[in-house]
C-alpha cells in the first residue's frame, strides 16, 4: 500500500469548472482557451501518482505550473474538482472535518516556502503549534518541541521569536514544526527556494541526512531541477497543471518524455546521473567496428551501474575502452567516443 495515492485529480479554479473539465477532456483545450471560454484557470490537470513509504517524491515545474495547488490536495487544503486522494489507504475526500483536522495535525507535516511562522509566538510555541491544537499539555509540548529543535540543530533557540532568526534558521524552525508531531508524511512546498545558495545547499544536505534516519514519506516541491535530482528518489515534472513525466532522475535525463522536459534537462550535468548501462555499446557491434578485444591489454573495467563520472576517471590516462562487466562476463564496452556522446546526451554515430 502506498502512503500517498493521488488518482485522477483535477483542479479548476472558477465557477464553470465542470464544463471546463468536459471541454478539456473532449476538445483538448489549452490553459489560455479555458480561461478565455470559461473564465476558469486550470490548476491541476488529471494528476495521478503514488508515493511509497520512506520515499522522497519531487514535484518539479516552472512557477505557475500547479505544484503548490497539487500538493495542497494531499492534506485537502484545496478540494479537488474531481479525483480522489488516499492517505495510508483512506480516502480523505470522505473524511469528516474533525478527522481531517486530526490527520493534518498528526499524520501530515507541512513546510512552506515563506516559512509562515507565527510572529507572536516563541520558536518553541511555534513548533508545538500542531500539538497544542490537539490539546497536548504544555509540558509534553515543550519536550517534543525541544527534541524537534535538536533534530534541526537549533538547540537552545526555543525562547527566541522568529523575527530574531535568520532566514535559514527560520526554515529550520518550519521543518521542526512539521516534524514535532512525528507525522508519517512531510509536504514541503519549495522549502529552500527563498534561501541563499550556500544555506540552501546546507539545508538540502541536512534534510537528506535527516530523512535517511527518519524515513518520512516526503513530497518535495521545487522549481529547480538540480534540487529535484539531489533530493528526489523519483521526480514528477509538471507543466501547465499536468504531470508530464514521472521517473528517476536518470530516466528523466536519458529519456525525456517531451520537448518541455528535454529543455529542462538540457543543461544538467549527466556525470553523476547516467550509468554505464545506458551508454555502453554491445560487445558484438564494437567488435564489428573496431576489431576484436585484445586480451593482452589490461582493459579498465566497470560495473553497469557505475556513473559516467567513474567511467571518465577510468578512461583518463589510457587509450583503451572500458569494459563493462557483470556477473563475470563483459556485457558492454564504452569507448572514448561513446563516453563523450554520453556526456553530451547525444547518440553515438
Amino acid at each position: 500500500m502506498s502512503v500517498v495515492e493521488v488518482d485522477g485529480v483535477w483542479k479548476i479554479f472558477g465557477d464553470k469548472s465542470a464544463e471546463a473539465i468536459a471541454a478539456v477532456r473532449g476538445e483538448g483545450l489549452g490553459k489560455a482557451e479555458v480561461l478565455d471560454r470559461f473564465g476558469a484557470i486550470i490548476g491541476v490537470k488529471d494528476a495521478s501518482f503514488t508515493v511509497e513509504e520512506g520515499e522522497i517524491f519531487c514535484l518539479m515545474g516552472l512557477s505557475g505550473s500547479g505544484k503548490s495547488t497539487l500538493v495542497r490536495h494531499i492534506n485537502r487544503l484545496i478540494e479537488p474538482t474531481t479525483g480522489t486522494i488516499r492517505i495510508l489507504g483512506e480516502d480523505i475526500g470522505a473524511m469528516s472535518s474533525e478527522a481531517l483536522r486530526a490527520l493534518r495535525a498528526e499524520k501530515i507535516g507541512m513546510v512552506f516556502q515563506n516559512m509562515a511562522l507565527l510572529p507572536h509566538r516563541s520558536v518553541r510555541d511555534n513548533i508545538g503549534f500542531a500539538l497544542e491544537l490537539r490539546g497536548k499539555d504544555a509540558y509534553h509540548r515543550a519536550q517534543l518541541a525541544d527534541h524537534a529543535l535538536e533534530t534541526v540543530s537549533l538547540h537552545g533557540y526555543g525562547d527566541r521569536l522568529p523575527s530574531e532568526l535568520s532566514g535559514g534558521m527560520q526554515q529550520r524552525v518550519g521543518l521542526a514544526r512539521a516534524l514535532a508531531a512525528d507525522p508519517e508524511i512531510l509536504l514541503m512546498d519549495e522549502p529552500f527556494s527563498a534561501l541563499d545558495p550556500l544555506i540552501r545547499r546546507n539545508l538540502q544536505n541536512e534534510f537528506l541526512g535527516l530523512s535517511q534516519n527518519l524515513r518520512k514519506t516526503t513530497v518535495f516541491i521545487t522549481h529547480d531541477l538540480d534540487e529535484a535530482i539531489r533530493m528526489g528518489d523519483r521526480i514528477g515534472i509538471m507543466n501547465d497543471g499536468e504531470i508530464v513525466q514521472i521517473g528517476t532522475a536518470e530516466d528523466i535525463v536519458t529519456a525525456p518524455a517531451d520537448d518541455y522536459v528535454a529543455d529542462f534537462v538540457a543543461g544538467i550535468s549527466r556525470l553523476k546521473l547516467v550509468s554505464a548501462s545506458k551508454i555502453m555499446v554491445a560487445v558484438e557491434s564494437h567488435v564489428a567496428r573496431h576489431g576484436p578485444i585484445d586480451d593482452a591489454h589490461d582493459y579498465p573495467t566497470a560495473r553497469p551501474e557505475d556513473d559516467l563520472d567513474t567511467l571518465v576517471e577510468l578512461s583518463t590516462g589510457t587509450e583503451l575502452p572500458v569494459l563493462i562487466r557483470h556477473d563475470g562476463g563483459t556485457v558492454g564496452i564504452v569507448t572514448k567516443d561513446t563516453l563523450l556522446h554520453g556526456l553530451q546526451g547525444t547518440e553515438a554515430t
Binding site: 489560455a32 509562515a116 500542531a130
Partner: protein, 608 residues
C-alpha cells in the same frame, strides 16, 4: 534552464503588434506633429513655439484630437474671461441710470466705473493670456497623450468628428446659461418663493372652479364677484334686515375678501413672466421639485391602561395614538416631510418600547455610578501612583514627568474629582465599544456581506457631526448621563470596529494556511492566529476609541454628562473664557496622559 524552456512554460501571451508611429496617432497633419514630437523629445522645441490651432480654435482642436484636459482648461479660461466681460451688461445699465443724476450718485458712479474697469481688464487679460498658454501648451499636452497612447491603445487618438459634436453639446449646455447668469443681478430671495406660491394657489383655484384655462378662471372669478356685488346691493338696499339676512351680509363680505385674495393670486400668477420663471428655475437656487402633503401628524403616548388595571393588572400601560387635523393647504418639501416622519417614528418607538429604553438607561446609569464611585473613592495618591508606575514601566522618564505634571495640574486646580467623572464616562463608553466593536469587527472581517453592510454605516457614523448624535439620544432617553454614554459610544466605536477588522484581514493568507495545515479549526484559527496577530491593530483602534470618547464626553455635557465637559459648556453659556480654557486644558492633559501610556503599552506589545 534555457530560455526556450521558460518560453514554453510561461503562459503564452501574444504581444500585440501595433503600429505606434506618429502618423497613426495624429492622422491629419502628421508631418507637423512628427517633427514637433521629435523636437520635443530632443528638447529642441523652443518654448515660444505655438500651435496655431491651439491658439485660435482650442475647443475645436482639442475635442477633434481628443485632448480632453486641454478642452476643459481652455473652456474654463475662456468662460472666465467672457464672464468678466459680461459684467458690462450687468453694471452698464446701472451706470447709465446713475448718470441721469450724476451729482446725487457720485459714489455709485465711481464704484461702478471702477468695477467695470477691473472686470474688463481681468477679462481681456484672461482671454489673451489663456489663449497664449493653450497655444504654447497644446503640443506638449498632445505629446503626453501620444506617449500614453503608445502604452495603452485605448487612449484617444486620431481625429474624430463625433468628439467635436460632443464638445459642441457641452458648449451649448454650459456657455449660454453661464454667460446669461453673468449679466443678471442676484434674484430677490422672496421672488421665487412668491412665484411658487402664486403658481400653487392658482393651480388650486383652477381645480376648485373646475376650469383648465387661467382666462376661464378670471372670468369665473369675475362672475362670482358680480353675483356677490348684486346680492349685497339688494341686501343693503332693503331698509330693515332679518337676523338671517344680516348673517348672510357678513358672509358675503367675507367671501368678497377671500375673492379679492384669490384675484390677487391670479394676478400674481399672470404677472410671472417667462423670464422670471426661467430665472427662478435655472439660475437661482436648485428649484424645489416637489411639494407634498405633510405626513399625518400623529402623537404616541404611553398612558395607564385603565381596563387592565381594573382587571387587576396594576401598573399596566398602553400606547394611545392621537391624530391632529392637518393644517389646511399646508404642503412641505421632501426635506421637511422626511424630517417629520423621522420625528414621528422616534416618537412611536419611544412610546412602544418604553420598557426597553428604560431598562437600558437603568443599566447604563448603574454601571456609570459604580465606575464613578470606584474612581472617586480610590484615594488620589493611589491613582496618581498607578499612572506613574504604568508610565515608568512602558514609557520613558519623560512620560513619567509629563504624567506627574499633568496630574499635578488637575490637583492644583481642584479638578481631580471632576476629571474622575469624565474618566468614568470614558471608561464605561470604551468598555461598551470593546464589547460591541470587537465582535462586530471580527464578523466584518470574516463575512463579505457583513462588511458590505457595516462599512457604509461606520463611514456615516464617522462623518456625521458629533452634535447630531445628541439629538436622537435625547429624543430616546431624555437628558441625563446614560444618553451621553450612548452618544459617546456611537461616536467612538467606528475605529474599534474598523481596526479590528483591518487587523484580522491583514493576517497573511499564508500564515492562516499554515495554521490550517496543522489542523486548526476555524475557532482556533481565530483565537490562536488571527486575534493575536491583530492585537497591534486592535490596540491602535482602542487608542483612537478612547480619544474619541474623551472628546465626545466633553460635547455630551450638552445633554447632561457630568465632568470637565460640563465646566466647558457652562463657561460657554456664561462667556467665562478663563474657566472654559482651564477645563479645556485639563481635558487635553487627561487625553494626552492616556494616549502616551497606551502608546507605550502598544509599542512594548509590538516589540514581541
Amino acid at each position: 534552464m534555457s530560455t526556450t524552456a521558460a518560453l514554453i512554460g510561461a503562459e503564452p501571451r501574444e504581444v500585440e503588434s501595433r503600429d505606434v508611429s506618429v502618423p497613426v496617432f495624429a492622422d491629419r497633419n502628421a508631418a507637423y506633429y512628427g517633427s514637433v514630437f521629435e523636437r520635443l523629445q530632443k528638447g529642441e522645441l523652443p518654448f515660444w513655439h505655438m500651435n496655431l490651432a491651439g491658439l485660435l480654435i482650442p475647443w475645436v482642436w482639442s475635442a477633434w484630437r481628443g485632448v480632453w484636459l486641454m478642452f476643459w482648461v481652455s473652456l474654463a479660461l475662456d468662460m472666465i474671461g467672457l464672464v468678466c466681460l459680461m459684467q458690462n451688461f450687468k453694471y452698464g445699465p446701472l451706470l447709465a441710470d446713475a448718470h441721469l443724476d450724476p451729482s446725487a450718485n457720485a459714489i455709485l458712479i465711481e464704484r461702478y466705473t471702477r468695477w467695470l474697469s477691473v472686470y474688463n481688464n481681468v477679462g481681456i487679460a484672461t482671454l489673451i493670456l489663456g489663449r497664449l498658454l493653450i497655444g504654447l501648451q497644446a503640443n506638449r499636452w498632445y505629446f503626453r497623450q501620444y506617449s500614453k497612447w503608445r502604452i495603452d491603445g485605448h487612449t484617444a487618438h486620431g481625429v474624430v468628428a463625433r468628439r467635436v459634436l460632443i464638445a459642441a453639446l457641452i458648449l451649448v449646455l454650459v456657455a449660454p446659461i453661464t454667460l446669461y447668469r453673468a449679466t443678471q443681478q442676484r434674484i430677490d430671495e422672496r421672488a421665487c418663493f412668491n412665484q411658487v406660491r402664486a403658481i400653487d394657489g392658482t393651480q388650486r383655484l383652477l381645480s376648485r372652479y373646475g376650469v383648465t384655462e387661467v382666462s376661464d378662471l378670471t372670468s369665473a372669478l369675475a362672475d362670482r364677484r358680480d353675483r356677490l356685488v348684486t346680492e349685497r346691493a339688494t341686501l343693503e338696499a332693503s331698509a330693515s334686515l332679518t337676523d338671517d339676512q344680516k348673517g348672510r351680509l357678513a358672509e358675503i363680505r367675507r367671501e368678497e375678501r377671500q375673492l379679492r385674495r384669490e384675484n390677487d393670486a391670479v394676478e400674481d400668477f399672470k404677472a410671472v413672466s417667462a423670464k422670471d420663471r426661467f430665472d427662478c428655475l435655472f439660475i437661482d437656487d436648485f428649484p424645489t421639485l416637489a411639494r407634498i402633503d405633510p405626513p399625518e401628524d400623529v402623537t404616541y403616548r404611553r398612558v395607564p391602561d385603565e381596563d387592565a388595571i381594573a382587571q387587576g393588572r396594576s401598573g399596566a400601560t398602553k400606547v394611545i395614538t392621537q391624530v391632529k387635523d392637518p393644517v389646511e393647504g399646508r404642503t412641505v418639501n421632501i426635506f421637511t416631510y422626511t424630517a417629520e416622519s423621522i420625528d414621528i417614528g422616534i416618537n412611536f418607538l419611544r412610546a412602544q418600547y418604553a420598557g426597553i429604553f428604560d431598562a437600558l438607561t437603568n443599566v447604563l446609569r448603574q454601571s456609570l455610578i459604580r465606575v464613578e464611585v470606584a474612581f472617586m473613592l480610590t484615594p488620589w495618591p493611589v491613582l496618581v501612583g498607578l499612572a506613574m508606575i504604568l508610565a515608568w514601566a512602558y514609557c520613558g522618564t519623560g512620560t513619567v514627568v509629563f504624567v506627574g505634571a499633568s496630574l499635578t495640574f488637575l490637583a492644583v486646580f481642584e479638578l481631580w474629582q471632576i476629571a474622575m467623572q469624565t474618566m468614568a464616562l470614558v471608561v464605561v463608553a470604551t468598555a461598551i465599544c470593546i464589547f460591541v466593536g470587537l465582535p462586530v469587527g471580527i464578523w466584518m472581517a470574516k463575512n463579505r456581506i457583513a462588511n458590505w453592510i457595516t462599512e457604509p454605516i461606520l463611514d456615516v457614523m464617522q462623518t456625521i457631526p458629533s452634535l447630531s448624535y445628541l439629538v436622537p439620544a435625547v429624543a430616546f432617553f431624555g437628558i441625563s448621563q446614560p444618553p451621553a454614554v450612548l452618544a459617546t459610544v456611537v461616536f467612538a466605536i467606528p475605529p474599534m470596529v474598523k481596526l479590528t477588522a483591518l487587523g484580522i484581514r491583514q493576517v497573511p493568507q499564508s500564515t492562516k494556511e499554515a495554521a490550517l495545515a496543522f489542523g486548526a479549526s476555524e475557532r482556533q484559527l481565530l483565537t490562536k492566529v488571527e486575534l493575536p496577530m491583530a492585537v497591534p491593530s486592535i490596540m491602535a483602534g482602542l487608542n483612537q476609541t478612547i480619544m474619541l470618547a474623551l472628546s465626545m464626553a466633553t460635547i455630551s455635557a450638552f445633554i447632561g454628562a457630568e465632568g470637565l465637559g460640563a465646566i466647558v459648556t457652562a463657561a460657554l453659556g456664561d462667556a467665562q473664557a478663563g474657566k472654559g480654557l482651564l477645563a479645556g486644558i485639563a481635558i487635553a492633559l487627561v487625553a494626552m496622559v492616556i494616549d502616551r501610556i497606551l502608546k507605550g503599552i502598544r509599542s512594548s506589545l509590538s516589540r514581541i
